[in-house]
Symmetry: C2
Subunit: 193 residues, 2 copies
């Protein structure tokens, strides 16, 4: 898949871009085929890029007191970055790790800002992507505040039915804010009432 085809896909998914804008974007985007377990960003680093996932999946996670806590998963057609570092230019609190072999399109903040300033349609696209992310975060907050461990798990299954085939249970558990053991018990049909 060429960079141009990927940018067409992004334009089709999120918001239409002019030919001139697509060309500008393609100019400074980098296609990255990378292996599973690659760390795109480490804690403390400055994350100056965001990544569009063409193929594969990735997660953002924290290490807190030795514990690995997943904060975000992204799959084909989505973006992933250390949002705190990318948008505030502070050191990243997150690691970003590939959960499968991936094909990514890397876009630097400088490039995004430049093209945003130049093309109204790209500024619009960025706004759309950020808005969608904001709404997903809002969803996650509702899930953390209202649901029991079991409901949280059923909720994520409703949104991503086959996540268990692609993401380790440890990561799903910490993403849901529950322990691995609790998730395991929830999944055991004997414990259903």
């Amino acid at each position: 898949m060429t960079k141009e085809a990927i940018i067409d896909q992004i334009s089709d998914t999120y918001a239409p871009l002019s030919a001139a804008c697509k060309e500008q974007l393609a100019g400074h985007a980098t296609l990255l085929p990378l292996h599973k377990n690659t760390l795109l960003v480490k804690e403390g680093e400055y994350a100056d890029s965001t990544y569009y996932i063409v193929k594969g999946c990735a997660r953002a996670y924290y290490l807190r007191e030795g514990k690995d806590i997943s904060d975000w998963f992204a799959f084909e057609g989505e973006f992933i970055s250390s949002i705190v570092s990318f948008f505030t230019q502070r050191p990243s609190p997150h690691y970003i790790e590939l959960l499968e072999d991936c094909i990514l399109l890397e876009l630097s903040r400088d490039h995004i800002e430049k093209v945003s300033g130049q093309f109204h349609d790209f500024e619009h696209l960025v706004r759309i992507v950020v808005t969608q992310t904001m709404l997903r975060l809002q969803e996650k907050i509702s899930s953390l505040q209202f649901y029991t461990a079991r409901q949280k798990y059923e909720n994520i299954l409703a949104i991503r039915p086959n996540i268990t085939q692609r993401v380790a249970l440890t990561h799903i558990a910490s993403y849901l804010g529950i322990s691995l053991e609790t998730l395991s018990r929830i999944r055991n049909p004997r414990n259903r009432i």
Copy 2:
């Protein structure tokens, strides 16, 4: 304070706007002096406006199984709306309530979309506001996932030292995802160790 002065303030706070853009914005914005306890939005309604708070403060809350759970507070210089309904055009899961007598500037979605399409600088401003909101939501998620009840409370005090003077403890407790009783115990100095 005139609408024009308020829009200057928004422009100064978030991102610079051209004179022509400010004029367009002022044209369709409405200045609303409203009383404490007014509901701007009720559950189930379509929230077609966002509100810039010139003076006062407000909250978004859910009613779930008879329980009142605060989801968001906004003060002077910030925007408030039922973000889910405003951005997805679905019925609002939230109520929006004024916690003090307020002066608000109301902006409709239609108007925001129209001016965004017309003025690149306003599209940029909207992007900035949404990005800031997204980052605040991310902060809130970290707080819900990592902190004990006491840490969450200390955290919000660090961000908004005088929130307890303006917002009822019930609302703060439900916002933090803890019970009112637990918050009360945390605040009692005898229980500090």
